[in-house]
């Protein structure tokens, strides 16, 4: 089976006037289907930049990127948009929900742009996605009526509603307390168990331990790439905290 993510010498340089900032200086990364990868690294090491490239939200200035066997570099704008729609679920650090729009409508949004209509009943799919992240009772709340953790879970529901093959999450637990963080991780582990590939960025070793594999970045390069030896399970941890 082909890797779901395969990058070769992936580079991204930002230009601020004359000054060039090399955010990524040649990333070689392979992620197989079904993996759950945590990306770690110091602030400014290029994690978000990499995620944006992987999520097809931004374009590299060098190297190549194959997503699910497709060379993303050769796609037209529309094909690019469709890839974002069908294959990728992206969870932003800052949520990026539509303001003054209910949780349900926010989650429906990707289905609205799904021109293959793979899902016949968008409303039901959106409700199911929200149920899955434990927000069945918040369908009609707007983002400013939800807590940070709840907003994050709406964002996750939006990312998974289109049945993507990969979920990319940039610091999904960055704004959450440890209990809520573990709840979010439970969702990711569950999705991962169902075969969806998950790549997430985190600063915390504790969080990274819920993944199967940790990739550590430094100054726009991958410094370390290893499997998690003592993987944590959100469900059992939640039970334990519940008993406390």
């Amino acid at each position: 089976m082909a890797p779901i993510i395969e990058t070769q010498k992936l580079k991204k340089t930002f230009y601020i006037g004359e000054i060039a900032v090399c955010a990524l200086r040649g990333i070689d990364l392979i992620v197989e289907p079904g993996e759950m990868v945590a990306i770690m690294g110091a602030s400014g090491s290029g994690k978000s930049t990499l995620m944006n490239l992987l999520g097809c939200l931004d374009q590299p200035t060098g190297g190549s990127y194959h997503l699910d066997g497709i060379d993303v570099g050769g796609l037209t704008k529309n094909e690019y948009a469709d890839i974002r729609n069908h294959k990728i679920g992206f969870v932003f650090q800052g949520f990026n929900l539509l303001p003054r729009t209910s949780a349900l409508e926010n989650v429906e949004l990707p289905l609205f742009y799904d021109r293959k209509r793979r899902i016949s009943d968008p409303r039901r799919a959106a409700v199911e996605a929200l149920e899955r992240v434990g927000l069945a009772d918040r369908l009609h709340h707007e983002p400013n009526q939800l807590s940070g953790g709840q907003q994050q879970r709406v964002a996750i529901a939006r990312a998974l509603v289109n049945r993507p093959s990969i979920i990319l999450a940039d610091e999904p637990t960055g704004n959450l307390d440890s209990h809520t963080s573990i709840e979010v991780l439970e969702v990711f582990q569950e999705l991962n168990d169902q075969g969806i590939t998950v790549v997430m960025v985190t600063h915390e070793k504790d969080i990274a331990a819920y993944a199967r594999r940790i990739v550590e970045m430094l100054d726009g390069l991958i410094r370390r790439d290893e499997l998690v030896s003592d993987r944590r399970w959100a469900r059992s941890n939640l039970k334990r905290t519940g008993q406390d």
């Binding site: 931004d58 990707p110 609205f112």
Partner: protein, 406 residues
Amino acid sequence: MLQLTNLVRAAIRGILKNRLRSLLTSLGIIIGVSAVIVMVGIGAGASQQIQQRIASLGTDLLMIRPGALQRGGVSRGIGSATPFTFVDVDELKKRALLVRAISPLVRSAGQVVGGSGNWNTSIEGVYPAYQYIRDWQLAQGEFFTERDVKSRKKVAVIGQTIADELFAGQDPIGERIRIRNTPFTVIGVLKTKGTSAMGHDADDIILAPATTVLYRLKGGIYVDMIYASALSSDRMYESEQELTLILRDMRKIKEGDTDNFTVRNQAEITEMASSTSEVLTLLLGSIAAVSLLVGGIGIMNIMLVSVTERTREIGIRLSVGARERDILLQFLTESIMLSSIGGGFGILLAFLLTVGVNRFSNLSAVIQPGIIILAFSFACLVGIFFGFYPARKAAGLNPIDALRYE
């Protein structure tokens, strides 16, 4: 492409989600559109009124003044501007065949005392034919006669305003009034004509024999001008020609020399008045255009202020898989809907205002269909342009750049 129903649904959501912005935008359009329609309507109504009043003066009216034709204050002739006398009037009356009636006009003005009050008004000294020429009807009493003119009798026919001011409800016939200290007997009251073509009260007037006014009130031997009525309104030009020829002969003006008098007909006067009302329409129109512009700038401001938010929204939509076209179409649909709803309400408001103006003020407004279309399309263009502006800027960006927009 997305289905149209979906697009419209998304657009309606977009409008409802941003109630305040939508409201302010449409308000700009509503005000702009209705202001233009109503203002131009008032201008058009005013010109129509002027035209009607001029037409009511009589279509066969001819006016003769001493002096060469003047236009824009520049004299075109050099001959002396000798005024006319009663002798001239009588000779014209005898010689002109294409003229039905003729009368001098001796203008005077002053204080009138009588009945229970006094009043400052204008006095016109005329021949009885003047009643026919200017189509004055009598409400009461009678008009003076040729004999009254000959004998310089001190009789007066007063306008409705004078009757009201001096006699307030009492019968003025047979009463004495003093015009600039000369006693006159009121023998008739004119039927009301309302506001005149030039906008003043046409009933604020006293008519008296021309000779009486000239010799007893004004002094001198000259009349101010001569009014005539052409034999038929479609032969105005011939009547005018005839009068001109007779006058040239009377005054012994040589072939090739310019006239030292002016004969004007109703058509020329109408033309003058309508150019005045055109200026009026233009003025109101430009005020309206300014308000439309201000409305447009208002819309622009609102739209530009929301560009940041909208660009982020576009970033979110792009990041979940919207294509450039989807975004463009959604924003286009949204701004077209908003603008046309606003424009529609603007037209509605204009109709209501027009009805109000016509009912509750003495202006009259006439809605001009051309202006409706013009105002509506201008407002819509502004609304659509600035509603569409964020989409045009952001839809082609990488999602991440749209999301980062500040």
